[in-house]
């Protein structure tokens, strides 16, 4: 199946290939999650990772970001080993995991200000705009523990709007969003891809994003068996 | 809007009305979440509560169950005040919240055994059957921290199969489930309703369950304004 995906790539634009994973192998508790997994992500692409519960989506994302390093295989960033250029890689990466990184005591604004500062310098006006774009106008100064589950998720989505990161890695960002939230996030993904960024996203939803590519971990596994 | 819903009720079967909420009012941080909210739930019904993020779905469920008691209004259980017959009410209730009540250190089997014991006496064979029905065969003896997000959610769903509770209250039970998991849960809801149970569920999904009734908190709010 690795070929199946690789074949679709546009080999003329190799310099636009951001992230490459080659021959990834990961096993947990004696269960092989994936073996021989290859994937490439180009600028301007949205790649959805699908798979049944426990198929290894979260694990794959964490491996690609470098949070988890119990894997075998190569991960390349613009053609060179990712770990050799950690600074550039991390400077272009934004990861939002299952746990979204929102402190409950701080307000949405304070949370966003700190997250942004880890990547670049952002003015408060920009932060406020981002917050109201994700539907948190009026909640900028409430402490986050008093927000609903979906509202907390929205705080983390505001990070997408203020970061300069080119590569977004999102682990189930749709879970608690309502219909308008889902539409908003889909449009954000499309915009990002349009402007040359790339997105890696896991979700069980059926995404409506133009030119969506899908990697199905279950298929990968079945083929292997 | 209260009439809108009430009118649909089958007034001949008043003795089949499990749960009634009359004139519920709740406000948090000076924001009125709902006022004048009326709802009735009969045996055999599935009621989905909809609403945008922060509209008060979670709060409503917790109020109905009695976890949260900062509300005004009356809640009746088979026509009598809920709090006067807490034992019967709690004996017929199963609540699964955002946090699903799965201990990470224990195995799915141990988790389920304890949850079940809080309601009734269940044999291990029954528990194992329930676990494999929710797709956790082979994971019965793994510790839960090593399960994926969706698998942990499935552990909590197994409780639905072993409890004798007539009223299920589920807060966003679909979030991390894959396609097969969603189908499974929907069939479980339908079965439960068929056998005379009742379900209160919040989700942003479009549920495919026969005879689904929907309460939209946003509509409620707009009408009020």
């Amino acid at each position: 199946m690795s070929e199946a995906i690789t074949d679709k790539y546009d080999h003329k634009h190799n310099d636009r290939i951001m992230l490459t994973a080659a021959e990834l192998f990961c096993e947990r508790d004696d269960r092989v999650l994936f073996a021989n997994l290859n994937l490439q992500l180009q600028e301007g692409q949205v790649l959805q990772i699908k798979g049944s519960n426990g198929s290894g989506k979260t694990t794959l994302l964490r491996i690609l970001c470098g949070i988890n390093d119990s894997y075998e295989g190569d991960i390349l960033w613009y053609g060179n080993p990712r770990d050799k250029q950690a600074e550039q890689f991390l400077g272009s990466l934004l990861y939002i995991g299952h746990r979204v990184g929102v402190n409950k005591v701080l307000t949405p604004l304070e949370n966003l200000r700190w997250s942004a500062s880890l990547q670049r310098d952002v003015s408060d006006a920009e932060l406020m705009t981002a917050l109201s774009r994700v539907g948190l106008r009026g909640f900028e100064y409430s402490q986050c523990f008093s927000l609903s589950a979906g509202q907390q998720q929205r705080v983390s989505l505001a990070r997408l709007l203020v970061t300069g990161a080119r590569l977004w890695v999102l682990d189930e960002p749709f879970t608690t969003l309502d219909v308008s939230g889902v539409a908003l996030l889909e449009s954000m993904l499309a915009d990002h891809a349009n402007s040359g960024g790339a997105v890696l996203v896991t979700t069980h939803h059926t995404l409506s994003v133009p030119d969506l590519r899908i990697l199905n971990l279950d298929a990968n596994r079945e083929e292997r068996l | 809007m209260s009439e809108a819903i009430t009118d649909k009720y089958d007034h001949k079967h008043n003795d089949r009305i499990m749960l009634t909420a009359a004139e519920l009012f709740c406000e948090r941080d000076d924001r009125v979440l709902f006022a004048n909210l009326n709802l009735q739930l009969q045996e055999g019904q599935v009621l989905q509560i909809k609403g945008s993020n922060g509209s008060g779905k979670t709060t409503l469920l917790r109020i109905l169950c009695g976890i949260n008691d900062s509300y005004e209004g009356d809640i009746l259980w088979y026509g009598n005040p809920r709090d006067k017959q807490a034992e019967q009410f709690l004996g017929s209730l199963l609540y699964i919240g955002h946090r699903v009540g799965v201990n990470k250190v224990l195995t799915p089997l141990e988790n389920l055994r304890w949850s079940a014991s809080l309601q009734r006496d269940v044999s291990d064979a029954e528990l194992m059957t329930a676990l494999s029905r929710v797709g956790l065969r082979g994971f019965e003896y793994s510790q839960c921290f090593s399960l994926s997000a969706g698998q942990q959610q499935r552990v909590s769903l197994a409780r639905l199969l072993v409890t004798g509770a007539r009223l299920w209250v589920l807060d966003e039970p679909f979030t991390t489930l894959d396609v097969s998991g969603v189908a499974l849960l929907e069939s479980m809801l339908a079965d439960h309703a068929n056998s005379g149970g009742a379900v209160l569920v919040t989700t942003h999904h479009t549920l495919s369950v026969p005879d689904l009734r929907i309460l939209n908190l946003d509509a409620n709010r707009e009408e009020r304004l």
Binding site: Q143, F145, S146 | D30, S70
Partner: protein, 248 residues
């Protein structure tokens, strides 16, 4: 039994209006008693043959110390009302009583040791039950304040603090008796016992009584002022508050 008076008592509006009427009188009385008490104590109490002019400390100490013992019972009663009847007013009083009580306890400790340094030649004495139990009353009150500020939800905080106040009230009593008992068995009764002070004549106890009344009045005024603020804040959406504010 007719409970209307009870519910009326629980109405913040009723309390606010009632105290509006009483406050001027209370404040007036407080100022008079404080002035008379302080002037009398400082200028007119004759020196004790043994304690010289330090009896002037005692005037303040006794008044503050006596009042500080009222806080835990007050908070426990208010807490019970909060837990059982959910009366908002009781919690508003309890909320403001805790920090004020911590202040009172602290001043008791400070004036006590300022006097102790003269009388006993030491600022602090671990073997005295009254001192130790007062110190722990201070700790417990700070604990209540800390818990209040830690819990974000008003309703949760109210009930949690109510429970802690009740437990704490019992605890202060137990600590006091256990320290007493501990020391009685430990060593011959402490030579530093506070009771049975030199037989003081009226030239001493009259200003003391004046001061006690003054401090009680001050306690009432301060607590009422703080509670009224609390009412304004929590009832800010009520029509009568908005009307009141627009006139202010």
């Amino acid at each position: 039994m007719n409970w209307t008076w009870f519910h009326k008592l629980g109405s913040p509006k009723w309390f606010y209006e009632l105290t509006s009427k009483w406050l001027p009188w209370l404040i007036g009385a407080m100022v008079i008693f404080l002035a008379v008490g302080v002037v009398w104590a400082l200028l007119y109490i004759p020196p004790d043959y043994q304690q010289s002019y330090t009896t002037r400390i005692l005037v303040i100490h006794v008044a503050v110390a006596g009042t500080s013992l009222a806080f835990f019972p007050l908070m426990a009663v208010a807490g019970t009302i909060t837990l059982v009847w959910r009366m908002k007013l009781a919690d508003m009083v309890a909320k403001n009583a805790a920090p004020l009580g911590a202040w009172f306890s602290f001043i008791t400790l400070a004036t006590g040791s300022l006097w102790g340094s003269v009388m006993w030649g030491t600022w602090w004495e671990w073997s005295d039950a009254r001192l130790v139990s007062m110190l722990f009353q201070f700790f417990l009150l700070v604990g209540v304040v800390a818990l209040r500020s830690a819990l974000e939800d008003n309703d949760t905080a109210a009930r949690a603090c109510a429970l802690l106040s009740i437990v704490g009230c019992i605890n202060v009593v137990i600590i006091k008796y256990s320290v007493e008992w501990w020391n009685v068995l430990h060593q011959p009764s402490s030579p530093l016992s506070m009771s049975g002070e030199s037989a003081n004549g009226p030239e001493f106890w009259v200003p003391t009584v004046v001061m006690i009344v003054a401090v009680y009045l001050f306690f009432a005024v301060s607590l009422i002022l703080a509670t009224r603020n609390e009412i304004l804040q929590r009832e800010r959406k009520a029509a009568w508050v908005q009307e009141l504010v627009s006139k202010a």
